[in-house]
Subunit: 272 residues, 2 copies
């Protein structure tokens, strides 16, 4: 049975991820009825993008008659907020965290799930939600089907993943995004000290990311570490002042070399 | 005085960089007259793309009457090859290495320079040379002008850089490209062990690279390390088996946190 009534959604949290997800759901026809945030400013900023007029900083004031409650808060705050939110059997309770299992809801709610968009969200940067993979996990086949339908209204890629798979996804995302971005930061710093503009690296960064659309990262690797050019590597270490940056250079170079060696071995093994 | 005769170029080396640079120069009207490579196969592969019919594996056979000699070989091999190539006062001698100073030519040649394209080159992936920044350094203003004219025939970005700046550029490129690509490799490995396709990360990797076109890397940072969420970081460390990967995780997380702290401090200092 298809209901014509818009589904009523409450957001618990108003951070970067909540902002982008609430905006996408609003655009897909969901009714964002209330936003809870510890700080009133964050909640108010979000109401502008979602047409939602009700905000609160007190969890006791969360409205008890919504259809869907989406928790998008820090992992540390999640458990306590779930315990204090009004719970109804018919409502659906979701969180958006990579590292928290589905079972965080199990003793409190009847219908619950995870709705994890794998992307890096900054408040002042627009994202195209349609291109973001959404990983879903439901407490029952009925909930999973609901999550799939909900996901497909905002994204082209909706994928079922277990809690175990999701925490590995989150870890992989830290390497591929947060750590990668930090390497950009170190590079930017090195250029700034030589009065060179960061723009000089943009083409390289773009190509490094684009390459792995057609090659595996192992095939795409270039540079002194994969060649194990000790001479160049030593010169680079001599240029670095920060002991942590030296150690990052040493560790990553060694690991690249090990990966390349084991990759070649497994390739030759396949050919035997 | 403009000569209508095509300039005759010899390539010393037939690796990834040589392949792409020779192809671009050939396309821009240079006459690639000979390719030297230690292995005949590499040289022969390159002749197909550049219309060059002469190859050699013996440095003594390099033709003595070319206009430009471009050395694109490993840093370790460069010095010896420069010493053994035929040298004429009128000819121009160039290398393409990030970490080698201009002065490597100074005792042997009269007109020399560096022609350093900052990009990651793999043989089986086409690149658009026009978008690659070219860093040039000449032994005289006349040579620098020649290098600029040559560079502008194949690239939209030709930038003068000293040997000192160039070695920092090369180091920054190792962080922004080789190390970044290795983080992709670690992430791919984590997903493969959970039967998840690497494709799940493509959108994230694309956005991470695209973000820094409008935000600085420091502004673009997200994730557990910048929030210093010890709980999530400890869970991630528990998921990693490889001791080097654990250490990479620890070091990069700590460094992200330190960067964020000092960045905030310097921002507040600016506002005071």
């Amino acid at each position: 049975m298809v209901t014509t009534r818009k589904e009523r959604v409450v957001f618990i949290g108003a951070g970067n991820l909540a902002t982008h997800l609430a905006t996408a759901l609003h655009g897909a026809g969901y009714d964002i009825v209330q936003i809870f945030s510890r700080t009133d400013t964050s909640a108010r900023q979000l109401t502008e993008r979602t047409g939602c007029s009700l905000t609160t900083t007190r969890i006791e004031e969360v409205c008890p008659d919504a259809d869907i409650y989406i928790f998008s808060v820090s992992d540390a705050a999640l458990g306590e907020l779930i315990a204090r939110v009004p719970v109804r059997d018919e409502a659906l309770y979701l969180h958006t965290a990579g590292s928290i299992p589905l079972s965080v809801f199990s003793t409190v709610c009847r219908r619950y799930g995870v709705f994890y968009p794998l992307q890096t969200f900054s408040k002042n940067r627009a994202v195209t939600f349609a291109e973001i993979p959404l990983f879903i996990e439901g407490s029952s086949p009925e909930v999973t089907a609901t999550l799939r339908e909900m996901g497909e209204r905002i994204s082209r890629q909706v994928i079922e993943a277990t809690s175990e798979q999701r925490r590995h996804l989150h870890l992989a995302a830290v390497f591929a995004c947060n750590f990668t971005n930090h390497l950009y930061a170190i590079a930017a710093d090195l250029l700034a000290r030589q009065q060179l503009p960061f723009e000089a690296l943009r083409s390289l960064i773009r190509e490094t990311a684009a390459k792995i659309e057609t090659l595996s990262p192992a095939e795409a690797q270039t540079g002194p570490a994969v060649r194990y050019d000790k001479n160049v590597m030593q010169k680079h270490l001599d240029l670095l002042d920060d002991p942590d940056e030296k150690e990052i250079y040493r560790l990553l170079s060694r690991h690249i070399h090990q990966f390349a060696t084991s990759h070649t071995q497994s390739q030759s093994a396949q050919h035997e």
